[in-house]
């Protein structure tokens, strides 16, 4: 079983050279720490920055320079700043190659719910609806089950949707799964020490299992 950093490490392997990537809040933010040094990746932050750098050194924080999670960050040589409309323009016109975000639920046809729990949580969708409606490729980083122990991979989402038929891949602490175009979660990899039977027991949606499911290779 993976911890949060393990999930982030595994997702980092999905990032291709010379690509523009938007990282959501939570586990997706950690992915930045594991992007291989030998590839060129430009991180987009939807509040208006391309080329997000690491956190500033202590004492060098700039209140005017934050990411979409409102954390103080830095720019890099070659960074660009722009307004919110332009930021979502490049998202809508599919200039951003990959979106990595968290989820409360994903359905077997790729629907995602991550913005609202009626009567309980009313924080809002931020940029998630725009991102999932337009992204070329969406990877979800999440825990396999919720705090109540219920599967988050479902036949249909029960929470209000963020987007429909958009998730391509899911990485959890237990497995890597691909959402098939015709529906269903195809089990691609299992986390070290996790059995296929266990993954089956905590996946409520349709699970497609090949004869041999390899263990994830992460260091």
């Amino acid at each position: 079983m993976l911890d949060k950093n393990g999930i982030a490490k595994r997702i980092a392997k999905e990032i291709k050279n010379n690509s523009y990537v938007n990282l959501g809040i939570g586990i997706p933010t950690l992915v930045a720490n594991y992007i291989p040094q030998d590839i060129n990746v430009v991180l987009q932050s939807e509040n208006g920055l391309l080329g997000m750098g690491p956190f500033p050194f202590e004492g060098e924080e700039d209140a005017d320079l934050i990411n979409a999670g409102k954390q103080t960050i830095t720019t890099l040589p070659g960074s660009a700043i722009f307004d919110s409309a332009l930021s979502f323009g490049m998202i809508r016109s599919q200039k951003v190659d990959l979106t990595i975000l968290g989820a409360m639920e994903v359905s077997e046809n790729g629907d995602i719910a991550n913005w609202k729990i009626p009567g309980k949580m009313v924080k809002g969708m931020g940029g998630a609806m725009d991102l999932v409606a337009s992204a070329k490729n969406i990877i979800v980083a999440m825990q396999h089950v919720n705090k109540a122990g219920e599967s988050k991979l479902l036949p249909e989402c029960t929470l209000p949707l963020t987007g429909v038929r958009c998730v391509k891949k899911i990485v959890t602490e237990l497995a890597v799964l691909e959402v098939l175009p015709q529906g269903g979660f195809r089990l691609i990899e299992r986390a070290p020490g996790v059995t296929v039977d266990y993954i089956k027991s905590v996946t409520a949606g349709k699970l497609i299992i090949d004869s041999d499911v390899p263990e994830m290779q992460i260091d």
């Binding site: 956190f55 209140a63 934050i66 307004d83 919110s84 009313v122 940029g127 998630a128 949707l161």
Partner: protein, 232 residues
């Protein structure tokens, strides 16, 4: 050049009345019109509809207006990090319309570009789509979203000149340029008000034609919401 300068925030907002619709620039607490918000709190106008990406935190930004119950309705994309907001929302004192962030920005942009509506895929198939016209272009569904109609836009820039030309700094730009274009009356507060000729025309982000009033702000706190650092 037309001189847009007013003396201070109180003067700039003096004709904002109860029940009006305001746009407020900023992302989180970054790039918010701090002086205008303070002046609105002091003036005590009520029943406001506020279009802003976020609702501030409990004791800063729009949170200060929420504390004084000046806001009737918020139109935002993300409103976490504010306990008073959540309390007013769950108790029904505050009306909230949550909309996708790109939709929020683009509805501002549409107003500034003189376009009545835009089409976006954000929210198709979700509760955001309820009651909205859906149009199919090239095999994909889009929602029709209307341009905002705001009485005032309150924005914050880094520098501005007396003609209202504005330059923003870093990610404090965010919603400010699109909101500056969208208000029937746009008020800009700047950290540094400069004379004509001091801004390079090539570097102006918001042309002064969109700005009706400008003043040099004071005592900027520029609070940081999430101070994240690394060690040397």
């Amino acid at each position: 050049m037309i001189n847009k300068v007013v003396v201070n925030a109180d003067e700039a907002i003096k004709d904002i009345q109860d029940g009006m619709t305001l746009m407020l620039g900023g992302f989180g607490l970054c790039g918010i019109p701090e002086n205008c918000i303070s002046a609105l709190v002091k003036k005590g106008v009520k029943e406001l509809t506020c279009i802003a990406n976020n609702a501030g935190v409990d004791d800063f930004g729009i949170g200060l207006m929420l504390q004084k119950r000046q806001v009737k309705k918020m139109i935002s994309s993300y409103v976490g990090e504010n306990a008073e907001f959540e309390r007013q929302l769950l108790s029904g004192e505050l009306e909230v319309e949550l909309i996708p962030q790109g939709t929020l920005a683009t509805r501002c942009m549409a107003a500034g570009y003189g376009m009545p509506a835009i089409f976006t895929p954000a929210g198709v198939g979700t509760e955001v789509a309820e009651g909205k016209e859906v149009r199919n272009f090239h095999g994909k569904d889009y929602l029709m979203e209307l341009a905002f109609d705001a009485d005032f836009a309150l924005v914050k820039a880094w520098k501005g000149d007396t003609a209202g030309n504005l330059v923003y700094r870093s990610t404090a730009r965010n919603f400010n340029p699109v909101m500056a274009m969208a208000g029937k009356v746009t008020i800009a507060e700047v950290e540094e008000l400069v004379e004509l000729g001091e801004l390079d025309p090539d570097h102006v982000h918001t042309p002064g034609i969109y700005v009706h009033r400008i003043f040099q702000g004071k005592d900027y706190e520029k609070r940081i919401e999430q101070r994240t650092v690394r060690t040397k």
